[in-house]
């Protein structure tokens, strides 16, 4: 069990919990640790606001730029290729 003193120093744990909190409900213990830490650590409070905005921006970037998708031309050619091949198979 972490002592309060350790919790106050553990920015790594606090920032980890901040990310976890964006996905799931934290346990009572985790929630306590995070709140205790944030109350006394202005650097992690800054991280908290920055990481939230970074999430919003990541979402924006991904939806604008289709980073993780194949490009349209490649897809069109690929479908064309599948169609031709399928016809030949029959």
């Amino acid at each position: 069990m972490n002592t309060n003193h350790q919790i106050l120093y553990d920015c790594k744990n606090a920032t980890f919990l901040l990310e976890k909190k964006s996905d799931v409900r934290l346990s009572v213990k985790e929630s306590f640790e995070l709140n205790l830490h944030l109350a006394s650590c202005s650097v992690c409070r800054l991280y908290q606001s920055q990481t939230a905005r970074i999430s919003t921006m990541i979402k924006q970037i991904l939806s604008n730029r289709e980073i993780h998708q194949l490009d349209k031309q490649f897809k069109a050619e690929l479908q064309e290729c599948i169609n031709t091949k399928q016809k030949n198979n029959k």
């Binding site: 799931v24 999430s55 921006m57």
Partner: protein, 191 residues
């Protein structure tokens, strides 16, 4: 899409329905966009060859993914692609360790500082996005896959972990590391 009896294959819709999914699946495991792209093509062509062996018990996507999985394992056997990605992940992991002292406190030169005036107004945000976009390109493949599924597809942590074969704690560690690095990269490149 619920199918009660037999699932059918519709090759004329394969690219629209599955190409991006298969691409991300491959990319998250190989971290190489070119190899992943070629694999998607290979999968579709291989699938066409064995259309007759599809019995309709699984969905079209599951069937295609299983073909992809075999092809990825083949690549793992050649190891070159895998090694590059593992190297990248290890470097990334090591870099993140430097962010904190052994007691978990921020190390002096990695402490977050205000970026810009912290208002993130419209004009600033556009600049930030440009930088962040560059920063995102340096992330290992698995981080990008996680982000894409989380923020773009709105998949739950459970789904993401299942599809990418990650434990939940591993998943948050990946997000944590990715966020720490992106934040640092943004701070470093913001003038």
């Amino acid at each position: 899409m619920v199918t009660t009896e037999h699932n059918k294959l519709e090759p004329v819709k394969w690219v629209d329905n599955h190409a991006d999914y298969l691409y991300r699946y491959a990319l998250s495991r190989l971290g190489n966009s070119e190899i992943s792209r070629d694999l998607v093509q290979d999968v579709f062509l291989a699938a066409l060859e064995k259309v007759d062996s599809f019995e309709g018990r699984s969905t079209e996507r599951t069937w295609l993914t299983s073909i992809l999985r075999y092809k990825i394992i083949d690549i793992y056997r050649t190891k070159a692609a895998l090694r590059t990605e593992v190297d990248r992940e290890q470097k990334f992991e090591a870099a993140t360790e430097n962010f904190f002292e052994s007691n978990g406190h921020w190390s002096d030169n990695h402490e977050p500082m205000p970026i810009g005036d912290e208002t993130f107004d419209v004009i600033q945000s556009r600049e930030f996005e440009k930088i962040l976009n560059q920063c995102m390109k340096k992330l290992p493949g698995v981080c990008l896959s996680v982000f894409t599924m989380k923020y773009l597809d709105d998949d739950s942590a459970v789904t993401i972990c299942k599809e990418l074969n990650l434990s939940q704690s591993n998943y948050w560690t990946i997000i944590h590391r990715a966020k720490l690095n992106l934040r640092a990269c943004l701070q470093k490149n913001w003038i």
